[in-house]
Symmetry: C2
Subunit: 705 residues, 2 copies
């Protein structure tokens, strides 16, 4: 039997392509200008160039992606990763091109962690001999590696891992061993099937002493035939909520011996024979990588939110339900009343527009975090560790806040597409499934806020002490964290002066609200810990909340400074192009919306801090509704178009640039494997026995239509 053919009907009027054209005609700024501001010309040009290559490579075709089961998906991803290596070699991709190509293909694969974790770890922790011996062949893919840290029983607490690496002086070797089931290496990307080497984190034991987790590079599969080496057992950990194109793996060592050179020895090492342990010079240096990873997650949070809200906003401009009786929509030509686009309903605006605003907010803060990362690395290399604590604290809190926001936003966008958001063809389920591990990995989003809290409390205590010492001058403060705390200490009873909705558009007022709230929470917690002597454990919820408050302030602050062109410029990086008045005004609307909506959605702490009162919250609500209806609505499509995501990347029937939503959706359904036959497999066994006339009672036969 042949495949089903669905009819080729047009949707009823108005057509999606016309609706989007109308939206685009209403946009008050140049979308290309805004895209260029976000990404730079070079990025947009590179995207065009790479797209032309990628869309022509069959291994990167996405049209079958949504139909594959786990095993097929993994097989396709392996093929894809191979094709990508070949393409990068042929066209001599720079690292930027490689990363950009990966983000367009947008599918985690078995070689991803080889590039993302294995090689960077080698680069950071190998001595010269090891660089030559391990990193060079890894760059040629002659070695394919993975990064084996997490264990079945330990993720968050890396210091608690149980795998051991015991130095054996007699043979100058390490014996790597898995003592318990809980010590099984688990979740290791690329380990399940693809890698032949691993960086293994294991407790270094030498001369009877446990020196805690250290990194070892070891072969795990034969270079001849890819079978597991004796003493190693490894496999795939099975299906996951997302990321099923990656072979996350598990691994066990049975008294597995490796030579001394396996211990990555740039910082710490073991002396041959005696097994004497040589300490790393400064443990703080290793914080750098953690900051980089967390800071970069702010950027990928932006990316995740921006993709989801592009899909949901475009579809909401096309999807129509009900007629808004107070302001019915009339077709120009026929005069016919048609249903209202759901994007015109204030509830839908309240769901989607703040997500657009949040994506732009994350853009500015992500830029700033990268600047701080590079500045801090430069400082540390010169022996100056003064920035580290602040950068580490804010990167932890921002990782937690922005990835939580992004995961919630993607799901909100999915739901805002109604039933069709549940279809994989919307592009949103897979986006969500692949995005959500961000809230857990690289530090669980609840746990790591303790690092932010600790820094804030210390800063506050120091500031209070300094102020008490009499030797304090406010003008000496250069750190923005201390600045808002100092303002609070100057006037803990500060009250918001706003008496009209319009006054909430004032950036200084917004900053005062966020600063006052964050500082008052810090003061409360420090009082509870230091004066009331409450335990750290009993304060964890408050600590989480204070981290959120601090980081929301950072997001608001960078958004405001960024639009004004007052964000510090990173050394050696191209300056942001200055914005036209129209684009600036559009961004200012989003900046206002971001600050105002953040308060309005969770006003509790702004009220308890004393800065805002009940009446002002009501005014704020009015201001938001008006801002969305009068200003943001007409630019909504422009804002998401400026994210410049090609249809190939979004792979969404609902989020298409051309608005042909229903046509694309139906077309994707025809490709469903179940539609390749008219009568389903299993009919004869499981349906026919009941329903075929030959089996039926005479009574039923006669009852047929």
């Amino acid at each position: 039997m042949s495949a089903l053919r669905f009819p080729n009907l047009p949707p009823s009027e108005p057509q999606g392509r016309n609706l989007l054209a109308e939206e685009r005609a209403n946009t008050t700024f140049s979308v290309h200008e805004l895209s260029t501001f976000l990404y730079g010309e070079a990025h947009l040009e590179r995207q065009e160039r790479l797209l032309a290559l990628i869309e022509n490579e069959p291994a990167f075709d996405k049209s079958r992606r949504y139909f594959r089961g786990r095993s097929e998906r993994f097989a396709a991803a392996l093929k894809k990763d191979h094709a990508l290596v070949r393409m990068s070699q042929k066209h001599q991709f720079t690292q930027e091109e490689m990363m950009h190509a990966e983000s367009l293909i947008d599918e985690a694969g078995p070689f991803g962690l080889h590039r993302g974790m294995f090689m960077p770890t080698l680069a950071a922790q190998c001595n010269d001999e090891q660089l030559e011996r391990f990193l060079k062949p890894a760059q040629r893919y002659e070695i394919i590696g993975c990064y084996a840290q997490t264990e079945l029983g330990h993720g968050s607490n890396v210091q608690g891992i149980e795998t051991t690496a015991t130095y054996l002086p007699e043979s100058d070797e390490f014996e790597i061993h898995t003592p318990f089931l809980t010590a099984s290496k688990w979740w290791i990307g690329g380990l399940g099937k693809a890698a032949n080497h691993a960086v293994v984190m294991a407790r270094l034991i030498t001369a009877g002493k446990d020196h805690g987790p250290h990194a070892f590079v070891v072969p795990i599969r034969s270079m001849e035939d890819h079978t597991l080496l004796p003493g190693v057992m490894a496999g795939d950990i099975g299906p996951k909520f997302g990321y099923n194109t990656t072979d996350n793996g598990c691994m066990w060592f049975d008294h597995y011996r490796v030579p001394r050179i396996s211990l990555l020895a740039k910082y710490s090492s073991v002396k041959p024979g005696s097994g004497e342990y040589i300490n790393p010079p400064n443990a703080k240096l290793s914080y750098g990588t953690m900051v980089l990873v967390r800071a970069s997650l702010v950027g990928s949070a932006r990316q995740g939110m921006a993709k989801a809200v592009t899909i949901a906003t475009r579809y909401s401009a096309i999807r129509r339900q009900f007629v808004d009786k107070d302001s019915p929509k009339v077709l120009e030509e026929s005069g016919q009343v048609v249903e209202t686009p759901v994007l015109d309903y204030s509830m839908q605006q309240y769901r989607l527009f703040p997500i657009i605003a949040a994506a732009y907010a994350c853009f500015f803060t992500s830029k700033e975090m990268m600047r701080l990362y590079y500045l801090n690395m430069k400082n540390m290399a010169a022996g100056d560790f003064s920035l580290l604590a602040d950068v580490h604290a804010s990167s932890s809190g921002l990782k937690s806040l922005t990835t939580t926001m992004a995961a919630a936003s993607i799901e909100e966008c999915r739901r805002a597409c109604g039933g069709h958001g549940f279809s994989v063809f919307s592009g949103l389920p897979l986006l969500l499934q692949d995005y959500v591990p961000n809230v857990t990995w690289e530090g669980d989003n609840y746990m790591i806020t303790q690092q932010t809290g600790r820094y804030l409390f210390k800063s506050f205590r120091d500031l209070v002490a300094k102020r008490a010492s009499g030797k304090f001058k406010a003008s000496q403060i250069t750190n923005p964290t201390l600045a808002y705390m100092n303002t609070y200490l100057d006037n803990p009873g500060l009250k918001c002066p706003a008496t009209t909705p319009g006054q909430f558009h004032n950036p200084e007022l917004q900053l005062a609200a966020f600063g006052h709230r964050a500082a008052s929470l810090v003061a409360q917690i420090v009082h509870a810990l230091d004066v009331e002597k409450r335990t750290w454990n009993s304060m964890l919820v408050d600590i989480y909340n204070v981290s959120v408050a601090h980081c929301q302030l950072i997001l608001v602050q960078n958004f405001i400074l960024g639009i004004r062109g007052e964000m510090p410029q990173p050394e050696g990086m191209p300056a942001l192009t200055p914005l036209s008045a129209a684009a600036k005004e559009g961004l200012r609307d989003l900046s206002d919306l971001f600050a105002m909506h953040t308060i309005h959605k969770q006003p509790g702490e702004f009220l308890t801090s004393g800065y805002l009162d009940a009446k002002q919250i009501a005014l704020l609500g009015e201001a938001i509704m008006e801002l969305m209806e009068k200003k943001v609505r007409r630019n909504a499509i422009g804002f998401v178009d400026a994210f410049a995501f090609p249809d190939y990347l979004l792979n969404s029937a609902l989020g298409r640039f051309d608005g042909k939503v229903y046509e694309a959706y139906t077309d994707m359904a025809t490709k469903e494997p179940l539609n390749q036959t008219e009568v389903v497999e299993g009919y004869a066994e499981y349906i026919k026995p009941y329903t075929n006339p030959k089996n039926l009672s005479g009574k039923t036969m006669q009852a047929r239509l």
Copy 2:
């Protein structure tokens, strides 16, 4: 090559089974007593009986469920549904037994909507002739049907559907037709591959007049060989976020003719020949079914939350990370300090315990909603429609609130399991994916709160008018909605008297807080609509919030009354067994936690209503932390054990009753298809070309370990 064999190691101490045994020994009440209170003896006894049957039927085996791709999953579900029909016929299942069996097998299948929507619609809307002709064979599965309402372009707005059914007097037939692509039937469960009949909602057009959507029962596939009938095209709509074991389908009609008897004619009909339309007697009658469905979703919200939190709570009692320095955990025998179970951290408690409490809250309200549904049906049959508006309003708001809570809770539980919550073996991803459509179907959760709002505003306006009339007596109020509004109108400036954390345990204080907040929001919105003349559209966010406030009050109220034994008893249903003092105290802790946490998590409106102040919010926070640590913690495992979910149902490595988490998890991973061979398919093509020594440079060869 043979399958991989993972090593058989024990986890490190302490063992999960011992930890759970310790937890169970600490429980202050009888778990069996609480289970019996929740479900009744008959349910628990039936569960044992059905489990014995089901676990022995190979078609119901769950051990392969997590590994299947879409097509295999559908095939297995078809086989499963067939086996279930056979089993139900052999053992002559009652309807209760059938539903209970379905909930244990816990997998939506192609026949689910036949039972859940097709037959109930026939039962409700057929005349006697149609019952004989359609319902009877459907009960014998000789007809397998689906319910085709939603279209590609219309879900929320049923009145907007575009499929037509035009009466043709000359042949006494209806012609069913799909005029546009947007009119394609879409999302119809069971239609994709299995059904041979459909109830089709189409606009009834007769004598040139459009009478809006009506239900028609029509054959769609041949009873001989299951091919599509001429004039009908239908197929599967493709993969979805969840529910992939159901064949949600799409369908088009091309001037498809069916006899007049196809129009379900219990309420409205068409006269032969003239085509005269006969009106339904009372359109309100059809609200009954909507109320039933929405009310029953409160029960399934409870079920969803309870399952997720059982898994997360058990695993959190076993999973250990870090040592809480203020209160380190010491092993009794060895005196060794071990890591703290994550359930002892206040943050984890704040994430999980309110979900336990919410599940219990939904239990009481679900019971009450079913009572009201039956009472209202009885009243309406006797011509009394006085309850309808209240029941319809609260069922809409509660559907929205509880399904939103449940979806968020399941995801929170998933994340609270750390990385392992991302593994499908945790049971949580599939639970989430199959649960989330609840927030969209049966009325989108944002949209339907307008129905709740409308009722509240009308009630408030009527009450204000009555009070102004001078003829009003508070003692006449029997409706709890009017009661809390009246209390507010008596004293809009009411303030909470609490000055210590302990005072928040007072149920009357809790009810006053929720009542005052809900009524003050109603008053505000009515003022904005009636006095400030704001448009309905501009108030949608506030309307959503007021519905949440009203329904949270209902949940709190029923929880309090239910524990006291003061909830009205449904006629003809068995009374709840009275609770022992110990169980009552346990539930009172949860009731307190539910009310207190609901305020604490989103205190904004309690502050702006004027009832609570900043200081009281801080006291409330202290009260919650103490309640969780001192009271709820020791009973946490008891509370989730009382939900009485068998391991077979949860199908979770992390949530096992016996605590053998790591052993079960590793065992499930061995079954992963990728682990059935040692060297992955694709190695020769995609990995070997880089890594095999024969291809490598001499330099690399020599670099090997």
